[in-house]
């Protein structure tokens, strides 16, 4: 066997790939499911937190800033492991899937709260004043005047942050989630051949390249033009 043949046999072993591609495909579905859950719950709760912060209740905001900063400072893997191995001692036994979802949703919540909040504060004070001077309540001014402008400002940074955190679904493999990387890793152990990792990488490319391209389109489309 020449070196080149050995390389192909190791990383592009057709037999191994043929055997394990259904597992990788199954992993893709788990990754998609996990990613969708993280994006929807993370962004929704981040927006809810930012709106709560806009209500301006001081002690609540300090608590919120502390929690958000902690979640942004901790590596996501640490949060996953803390939930997965830590909560059972509190009587809760979340699955690996739930632990990964919860951890990544919390991280996305923290980052998106900061992004939404930055958007809200970036809207000029005159917009609030004009709205309030016509008799709109604080909440009406927020929802009809300030938030629509703030959301437009937040779309580009939110898109790139969401993509970054969604790729963190691969961390679920550490707590036995059978997503792409988890499937690929166990296939490697079972076949004594790393070819399934190449399949896994291909699966990530298939999943995320369209997302990245769409993200770039969204970023240019919503870049603020005056």
């Amino acid at each position: 066997m020449t070196g080149w043949e050995r390389f192909l046999d190791t990383f592009f072993n057709a037999k191994v790939m043929a055997k394990y591609w259904p597992d990788i495909l199954h992993g893709m579905w788990v990754t998609i499911e996990l990613a969708m859950l993280v994006v929807v719950t993370g962004i929704a709760s981040g927006l809810a937190l930012a709106l709560l912060r806009a209500a301006g209740i001081r002690p609540l905001n300090w608590l919120m800033i502390f929690v958000v900063d902690a979640l942004r400072a901790l590596p996501p893997l640490v949060i996953i492991v803390l939930i997965y191995f830590g909560l059972p001692s509190a009587g809760l036994t979340p699955s690996g899937f739930v632990s990964t979802w919860a951890a990544l949703a919390l991280v996305l919540m923290a980052f998106s709260e900061e992004i939404f909040w930055a958007g809200i504060t970036a809207v000029p004070r005159g917009q609030w004043e004009a709205a309030r001077s016509t008799g709109l309540s604080y909440a009406q001014a927020l929802f009809h005047v300030v938030l629509p402008q703030a959301l437009r400002l937040t779309i580009p940074p939110l898109t790139s942050r969401t993509i970054a955190i969604t790729k963190g679904t691969a961390l679920g493999s550490v707590v036995a989630v059978s997503e792409i990387l988890g499937q690929a890793s166990s296939a490697v152990s079972n076949s004594y051949n790393p070819s399934p990792l190449i399949l896994g990488a291909a699966a990530y490319l298939v999943l995320f390249i369209p997302v990245v391209v769409a993200g770039r389109w969204v970023e240019t489309r919503f870049a603020w033009k005056k």
């Binding site: 004009a130 309030r132 016509t134 008799g135 709109l136």
Partner: protein, 242 residues
């Protein structure tokens, strides 16, 4: 119509209003002038409680704006305000700007709000721009839409905070023309501005403020031609040299 008595306002250590009394009669047009930092804008912004004075009483159209149980949002419907920077909502059309409060505050249905909104835009001569967004309008047109947004709610009082200061000179006239028409319709108006020509022609009274106090007030001719106080004389001299 407006009775503001003994207003004090601090911004941190800065004492911006030092016991200001301002009474404005029904259908009166009062001009407030003074150097920057004199407190004239703060006074105006107290009259619809965008600023809360530290002490004093404010009654507008019989509503006590300093009373704890006064519904400020309902009161503000009766007090229109126009800002130096227009502050139009950039994500809405001109008509959307005018109808938002009609729908959300005055509780009008969409059709009625749009009819009233178009009528208000007609009054400022911009009915044909109803579908334009603020970015597609000139500064003068934006300010007229802002006036339409306020008058659509049929306020009893209009407050103008330097409405022409941000405009190119050739666009000032169109805004002043709209203000003159409001005046002719009998609107009670308080105007912070240095448009002396307009003040001379339209104001019933000119109030000169400096360092958080009203220094002198009277008919435009008296204040502009024969001011009594040295500070008024210095200020009038300065702005007339320009």
């Amino acid at each position: 119509m407006i009775e503001a008595i003994g207003l004090h306002k601090h911004f941190g250590a800065l004492h911006v209003l030092k016991g200001v009394d301002l009474r404005v009669a029904d259908r009166e047009l009062v001009f407030v002038i003074g150097p920057s930092g004199s407190g004239k804008s703060t006074l105006l912004r107290c009259l619809n409680r965008l600023e809360t004075p530290d002490a004093g009483s404010i009654v507008v159209d019989g509503i006590d704006l300093m009373h704890r149980r006064t519904d400020l949002n309902a009161a503000r419907r009766r007090i229109g305000m126009v800002f130096q920077g227009f502050n139009l909502y950039p994500h809405m059309t001109a008509l959307g700007n005018v109808t938002l409060a009609l729908r959300k505050v005055a509780g009008k249905g969409r059709a009625e709000a749009e009819a009233l909104g178009l009528a208000a835009l007609e009054r400022v001569g911009l009915r044909d721009r109803a579908g334009h967004t603020p970015g597609q309008l000139s500064g003068g047109q934006q300010q007229r839409v802002a006036i339409a947004r306020a008058i659509a709610l049929e306020p009893r009082v209009m407050l103008f905070d330097e409405p022409t200061s941000a405009l190119d000179p050739e666009l000032v006239g169109s805004v002043l023309a709209v203000m003159r028409e409001l005046r002719e319709d009998g609107m009670t108006m308080v105007v912070v501005s240095h448009e002396m020509g307009f003040a001379r022609a339209a104001a019933d009274r000119v109030v000169f403020m400096d360092h958080g106090q009203i220094v002198e007030q009277g008919p435009p001719a008296a204040i502009f031609e024969a001011p009594q106080e040295a500070r008024t004389q210095a200020f009038i001299g300065q702005i007339q040299r320009h």
